[in-house]
């Protein structure tokens, strides 16, 4: 039994299946006809911990053998891949032609493209390059019945038929199994690097990021973090309470100009600390930031808050105040360009057993007060029970989501009980 097929402590009762291609994937699904059997598509198994706790499951549909780059049309800046290819393997092959896929989810050596899309994995390369879903131009999906379907195609502009791929991005493999994807690609910027700017106050951090947002600088990525995260990541930024990391890229002159604009901005802050990292060091720092997905202990918690750039101010302040009040530490990163925040709690297991639930409730209150939504990336399995991992969603949308689930997977063969549509099954 492979360890990666263990989800919240449960193993597949009938074992794993390893299809080599779409045809085998299709017949694997159509062969499972017994009602009530549960299939979990597995990519790199890096995000299987997300979702409600599953009562049981029967098959791990492991896509790791569907790992080919089917076509790379470099002159057209497009490619077609099988869903089980890892991000790392794909990026390596694209780099040969000085191109890349503007997706930078964590642990690229294990994470597959299929899993990354299905779980709508967050990344940092999104300030300028938008959302991962914007890179998808076509998709082949195998329905729970085994039927193979496609939408879109390997061209960059297309409005023929419904844009079905959208349903599967962030669908956590509940409407079908992604088998092949067409992407549009991005040329690698000739020059890249990162500016680190440290601040003493939250206010300075926000002001600075607003200034960047308002300037002509077009960062590839931008993230801010608090002292605990700086320490945890062991970033060399002495005496900084907050740190902003800005990744820029471009041709030489454009690169220098962006750096100049930001260096001028920094001059206005006393006590600020700046550092510049050339490409290699910058890449390594971003890998470190990207691959930190929370603390190792069983009781650690990782959550994401969806908000707007300006609401991040209130959110960060209220979260910091609350954690100070309860005497716990909180590591936080914010993506002001995108309006998201990630928080990492190392441990809450103290004398009082009810405490973690209280803390989570209070975090929810803070999010609600700041008109934001929370989604847990990591929560200990026993806390998942009786708890909505997925945060709030309006009733109208939820109704349609349930209806989609009932239409495309009426027997809930795929990932039963784990998604926000399946409350009664979990």
């Amino acid at each position: 039994m492979e360890k990666k097929h263990l989800i919240d402590g449960i193993q597949p009762s009938q074992g794993p299946i390893y299809p080599e291609d779409t045809i085998e994937l299709s017949s694997a699904l159509s062969d499972i006809t017994e009602p009530g059997k549960v299939v979990v598509p597995v990519g790199g198994a890096t995000r299987l911990q997300i979702g409600a706790k599953m009562p049981h499951y029967d098959y791990a549909l492991d896509l790791s053998n569907m790992n080919h780059l089917v076509a790379h049309n470099s002159a057209d800046l497009t490619c077609i891949v099988q869903s089980g290819i890892t991000l790392h393997s794909l990026q390596n092959q694209l780099r040969e032609q000085e191109q890349f896929l503007a997706v930078d989810a964590a642990f690229p050596e294990e994470a597959t493209i299929g899993g990354t899309l299905a779980s709508n994995a967050p990344g940092y390369l999104r300030w300028q390059l938008a959302h991962m879903r914007d890179m998808v131009i076509g998709m082949q999906v195998v329905l729970p019945s085994g039927t193979v379907t496609k939408s879109g195609g390997p061209v960059v502009k297309n409005v023929a038929g419904y844009d079905m791929a959208r349903l599967h991005i962030g669908g956590y493999g509940t409407l079908g199994v992604i088998s092949e994807i067409s992407f549009k690609l991005t040329p690698l910027p000739p020059r890249q690097g990162s500016l680190l700017v440290g601040f003493q106050s939250e206010n300075e951090l926000h002001n600075f990021s607003e200034k960047v947002f308002d300037s002509y600088v077009m960062p590839l990525a931008l993230t801010g973090m608090n002292e605990h995260l700086i320490k945890t990541l062991q970033i060399d930024a002495p005496r900084c309470r907050y740190l902003m990391v800005i990744r820029i890229g471009g041709r030489q002159m454009a690169f220098d100009r962006q750096l100049n604009i930001m260096n001028k901005m920094v001059e206005q802050y006393q006590d600020s600390h700046t550092d510049f990292l050339e490409q290699n060091a910058s890449d390594r720092l971003w890998e470190k930031i990207r691959d930190f997905k929370g603390y190792g202990s069983i009781s650690s918690i990782t959550g994401r808050v969806f908000s707007t750039p300006t609401r991040l101010r209130g959110l960060l302040r209220d979260m910091a105040n609350y954690f100070e009040e309860i005497g716990s530490t909180l590591a936080v990163s914010i993506q002001p360009g995108f309006g998201t925040m990630e928080f990492y709690i190392e441990s809450l297991l103290e004398e009082d057993k009810t405490r973690p639930t209280q803390v989570i409730e209070q975090i929810h209150n803070i999010a609600r007060q700041n008109q934001s939504h929370i989604n847990y990336e990591k929560l200990q399995p026993d806390l998942k029970i009786g708890f909505n991992m997925w945060g709030q969603i309006n009733e109208g949308s939820l109704g349609i989501m349930r209806s989609l689930r009932d239409t495309y997977d009426p027997d809930k063969k795929l990932n039963r009980g784990r998604y926000l549509t399946d409350k009664e099954d979990s």
Binding site: L77, V155, V156, A160, G161, T308, I400, T407
Partner: protein, 486 residues
């Protein structure tokens, strides 16, 4: 219509008047005529046109329609080129033109909330003083509505670098077929659950009626530079396009016109294109001053490999407008070459430009119908325009067959049936060229999931085997007004 049905219709109309007010229900034949057409070849008569002002009113109209099993077709400005707004099966046309308010502009979070009847260009004009703009810019932007753009997932000349409508919509308020009102997504850039926002965009009004839209606004660029390059042959120009994209450059716009278009534009607006040019490329770069300069140098170098007849550069807005004038004037100018034209919309991989244009040329020679090629070349989106005379017997049938043949070539070369104008009624019967029965069945299951009872814009997108009507693209172009271009 039988006595009881017509009575029922009378009741229905008075009920509709109660919902939206007497002035906003049209059932007079003369009034309805205006709503018979959009920019496509099709036509259809609605029974009644309703002009609602709020989502609540739309909700009531949809409930009433459902009770009476009446189709409902939303309509923006009627500039659509694939028959999307045609009430083919009668029923109610919901004209969204009164819902034209820009409700909120949030400069710090860079979004605006608008009603669906807001005209595309009006939004950019409105936010320009804040240094912002709304990126998707269909050539019809002076007339088309954001609601129509959502339904068609419209693009525009500047979508090459910035993406099409779906890349710029954060969320929207919709009225579902049962009359319930809800939001798909909101002002946040990310969300939880299936992407209902994404699946509704481009669904051609068949899943929900959009009543509010939250769109992303971008910062106006620091610098813009436009270049016009003329080449001896269309092959050279196509090779230059492939060279530019292959070198990893994605300009803001990369447009191409062939010798027919050049000739027409020259005669109409005197854009000053060099004589004897087989094709021109219009390249626009924007962004940071330095990046524009660095990229324009590289682009020039690439183009020089294909022996351009001339390269002209514009950096101020007046000069830029001059370079664009030929491109923007083409459509109006085609009228000088023939009484009618039929504009086809398909996309191909950019590396196939030379191949496909050659095949289109062969069709033109074989059939005797001139075909003017207008292209959003940077993203492989072709608009071959077949010149003909509607009054000549057989011409309409012939050019429709040619249009279909061109689309088959696009699909065979790895491309698709529509780059930006949608499927609607125009191309529904060609869907099997691209999609299997299973693909289409899977797509149409969405209507089931949205519980539309197939009353929202029925009979569109998927094949029915229906025929064709007359050519009325010209009518839609007139709706965009003087200087309309595609």
């Amino acid at each position: 219509m039988s006595q009881s049905q017509s009575l029922k219709m009378k009741d229905l109309i008075s009920e509709l008047k109660r919902i939206v007010g007497d002035d906003y229900v049209l059932d007079d034949q003369a009034d309805l005529l205006v709503y018979e057409y959009d920019g496509s070849i099709d036509r259809g008569n609605p029974v009644v046109v309703v002009l609602p002002n709020t989502a609540k009113e739309i909700s009531q109209v949809l409930k009433l329609a459902r009770l009476n099993s009446l189709p409902v077709v939303a309509r923006g400005a009627g500039t659509g080129l694939s028959g999307g707004a045609i009430a083919e099966h009668g029923g109610i046309v919901l004209s969204m033109t009164r819902m034209n308010q820009i409700l909120e502009v949030n400069r710090s979070d860079r979004y605006a909330i608008v009603e669906p009847g807001v005209v595309n260009l009006d939004l950019s004009t409105h936010v320009a003083s804040e240094g912002l703009y709304y990126a998707p810019d269909p050539s019809s932007q002076r007339a088309c509505t954001i609601g129509g753009n959502i339904a068609e997932n419209s693009g525009g000349p500047h979508c090459l670098a910035y993406g099409v409508t779906t890349n710029h919509v954060l969320g929207m308020e919709v009225v579902l077929a049962d009359g319930s009102i809800t939001w798909f997504g909101d002002n946040e850039r990310d969300g939880i659950g299936y992407d209902l926002r994404g699946i509704t965009i481009g669904s051609e009004g068949t899943l929900a009626i959009v009543t509010k839209i939250s769109v992303r606004l971008l910062r106006l660029p620091e610098h813009v530079k436009t270049m016009l390059m003329s080449f001896e042959t269309i092959e050279d120009a196509s090779a230059a396009v492939t060279g530019i994209i292959g070198a990893g450059m994605v300009p803001a716009a990369l447009e191409m016109m062939d010798h027919f278009c050049i000739k027409a534009a020259e005669e109409a607006v005197g854009a000053g294109y060099p004589e004897g040019a087989g094709a021109v490329l219009l390249v626009e770069l924007d962004g940071l001053l330095e990046s524009v300069e660095e990229e324009s140098e590289e682009i020039e170098a690439i183009c020089r490999e294909f022996s351009p007849l001339e390269i002209r550069v514009a950096t101020d807005s007046l000069e830029r407008e001059k370079l664009w004038s030929g491109r923007k004037g083409v459509l109006g100018a085609l009228g000088r070459l023939a009484p009618n034209y039929y504009l086809v919309d398909g996309t191909i991989p950019r590396t196939k430009l030379v191949d496909v244009l050659k095949k289109i040329n062969e069709i033109s020679e074989r059939s005797g119908y001139p075909i003017a090629n207008l292209l959003h070349a940077g993203d492989g989106n072709l608009h071959p325009s077949i010149l003909f005379d509607e009054r000549k017997p057989g011409d309409v049938e012939n050019i429709l067959a040619i249009g279909a043949e061109i689309l088959r070539i696009c699909v065979d070369s790895g491309g698709v049936l529509s780059g930006e104008h949608g499927i609607g009624l125009e191309k529904q019967d060609q869907m099997p060229l691209m999609f299997s029965e299973e693909d289409m069945a899977t797509m149409s299951l969405l209507k089931l999931a949205f519980e539309t009872e197939d009353l929202l814009n029925p009979g569109k997108v998927f094949p029915t085997g229906a025929g064709c009507g007359d050519i009325s693209q010209a009518r839609a172009i007139a709706r965009v007004g003087p200087g309309a271009y595609i």
